[in-house]
Amino acid sequence: MIDVCDLKTYYSTGFLCRTEVRAVDGVSFGIKKGETLGLVGESGCGKTTLGRSLLRLIEPTGGRVVFDGTNITALSRKDLRRFRPRMQMIFQDAYASLNPRMRVRESITEPLRIHGLEDRAGIGRRVRELIEMVGLNEEHLNRRPYELSGGQNQRVVLARVLALEPEFIVADEPTAGLDVSVQAQILTLFRDLGRDYHTACLYISHDLGVVRAMSDRVAVMLKGRIVEIGPTADVLDRPCHSYTRRLVAASSADRGFSRPAPCPALPGSPVMVEVQSGHWVEAAAR
């Protein structure tokens, strides 16, 4: 479904002396249809930049993103725009991802209107369908973002994003600011809807517990590179890279997860090594 090959996104920052920041530095992976890949790493490791580069919301510096056979990185602006509805993004801060001046109804109608999908009555029906699907009701349609709670706003964002029935969603820590019980509501909703629509998803988070619950496979990112990737249980229960081990140790201290099992020694060359079927580790850093 999605094939990412050697993706690079560099920034130059600094006022007087320009320095290059390699936010994403040669990343490759694939996501199958209906699969969720969790992306973990500390803040500032480049996970958000990676997510946005995949959708070309940030222009990547190099590499390729192939979506369902089409090389997105080579599309013209116009073709890209036509491609957009098939891949969507959910942001961390639901409040900021809704226009503060628009009512919920307008926010959900907007994607339908942009793509000229349906007539007026059809749009009305579809909006009601969507709002109920995310567990809100028609009364919420006339509210504005600041009149809703964080969880409710994130539901509105979900309805807006799902309006176009995307095949691929990048979710960038959609529950980071939410309470545990609200997080559980949003995550189960998100997981169920993803299943219904058979959506492929890149789920970005720093919370291993959430990633474990949400994803089929996990990729661990460190300083712009993916250092370990594989099936969720393999990576989180038998982490091989030293950074993954630290991450797992930090978040499983009091949850009673099994201690990471020792991993076979790897030869020290700077490449990805397959330690188990589908479980790859960057070997040089060990």
């Binding site: 500390e42 803040s43 500032g44 709670s149 964080g150 969880g151 980071a176 600011g177 309470d179 545990v180 019980s181 609200v182 997080q183 559980a184 509501q185 995550l187 189960t188 720093h206 919370d207 291993l208 517990g209 959430v210 474990r212 619950a213 949400m214 630290r246 991450l247 140790a249 930090a250 978040s251 201290a253 009091d254 949850r255 997860f257």
Partner: protein, 313 residues
């Protein structure tokens, strides 16, 4: 257990608004022993932060406050302003949430800490600066002498939190209130901050306000769970988290991704007009008839373990 250092009795806090009075805290009773860490666990709008701010008397002047907050036997609510000023920082200090605005962006970090030291310990100039560097070292900031001369924007989230802890420790308070110190930090950094807390908490009484169950489990000796302005369950940390008595606590724990991620249906009630009986009644899976009308009291369910629920009445 030692003596009660802080004792909150029947605390009611209300914020008058256009739509009515928001009852953020409803008859809260709480005791903190000398040397213990009590975690106040609750979600957004449960009134946990309000409780912390009420102890420090840092609420808006038009807030309605009733009840008693006894600190070493003195009622903080009836102390004159100057007396309270002396207690704040010197005896009771607060570690604020790392929101990016809790440190002044145009002052050097070292100077901000030195300022607190000058204010409370009377040290001046070079002495205060040296003390500030010492504090930064104590919260394990690498190369403290250099970092003391840096501005807050050069600090990462974790380092800023450490600086805030150093600021709170500036005059070695005997009682520390930490308000969501781990919010917004990533897993590894959070782990490090919690480790730092468990070190500085030794021999000190701490009220650890958090929404993070893990953090509470790591640090606290006792946990109080708040819901809609009330304490619904309180007890030793192991008892509360391994065999929760109140249906809300149970729901909260089951919401954790690691414990099944089963959400509690519905949402928290309005604090302007909360449900008349049990405040959790509309969302409760095990409610009985009288839950709707009768307000339950805190009843013992185990040694030192109480829950506000009809099931145990």
């Amino acid at each position: 257990m030692g003596d009660a250092l802080l004792c909150v009795r029947g605390l009611k806090v209300g914020f008058p608004t256009v739509d009515g009075v928001v009852k953020a805290s409803n008859a809260v009773d709480l005791t903190i022993q000398a040397g213990e860490t009590l975690a106040l666990l609750g979600e957004t709008g449960s009134g946990k932060t309000v409780l912390g701010m009420a102890i420090l008397r840092l609420l808006q002047p038009n807030t309605r406050i009733e009840g008693e907050i006894l600190y070493r036997g003195r009622d903080l609510l009836s102390l004159p302003q100057e007396e309270m000023q002396k207690i704040r920082g010197r005896e009771i200090a607060v570690v604020l949430q790392n929101s990016g605005t809790s440190l002044n962006p145009v002052l050097r970090v070292g100077d901000q800490i030195a300022e607190a030291i000058t204010l409370h310990r009377g040290l001046k100039g070079a002495e205060a600066e040296a003390a500030a560097v010492e504090l930064l070292e104590r919260v394990r900031i690498a190369d403290p002498a250099r970092m003391a001369r840096e501005y807050p924007h050069r600090f990462s989230g974790g380092m800023r939190e450490r600086a805030l802890i150093a600021l709170a420790l500036a005059c070695s308070p005997s009682f520390l209130i930490a308000d969501e110190p781990t919010r917004g930090l990533d897993a590894v950094t959070k782990h490090e901050i919690l480790a730092l807390f468990s070190e500085i908490n030794r021999g000190r009484s701490v009220l650890f306000i958090t929404h993070d169950i893990e953090a509470a489990a790591t640090l606290a000796t006792r946990v109080a769970v708040m819901y809609a302005g009330e304490i619904v369950e309180i007890g030793p940390v192991d008892a509360v988290l391994s065999s929760p008595a109140h249906p809300y606590t149970r729901g909260l724990l089951e919401s954790l991704p690691a414990r099944g991620m089963r959400p509690i249906p519905g949402s928290a009630p309005s604090l302007i007009a909360p449900p008349s009986g049990c405040r959790f009644f509309p969302r409760c899976p095990c409610s009985v008839g009288r839950c709707e009308t009768e307000h339950p009291g805190l009843v013992p369910v185990g040694p030192g373990h109480c829950a506000r629920c009809m099931l145990y009445d």
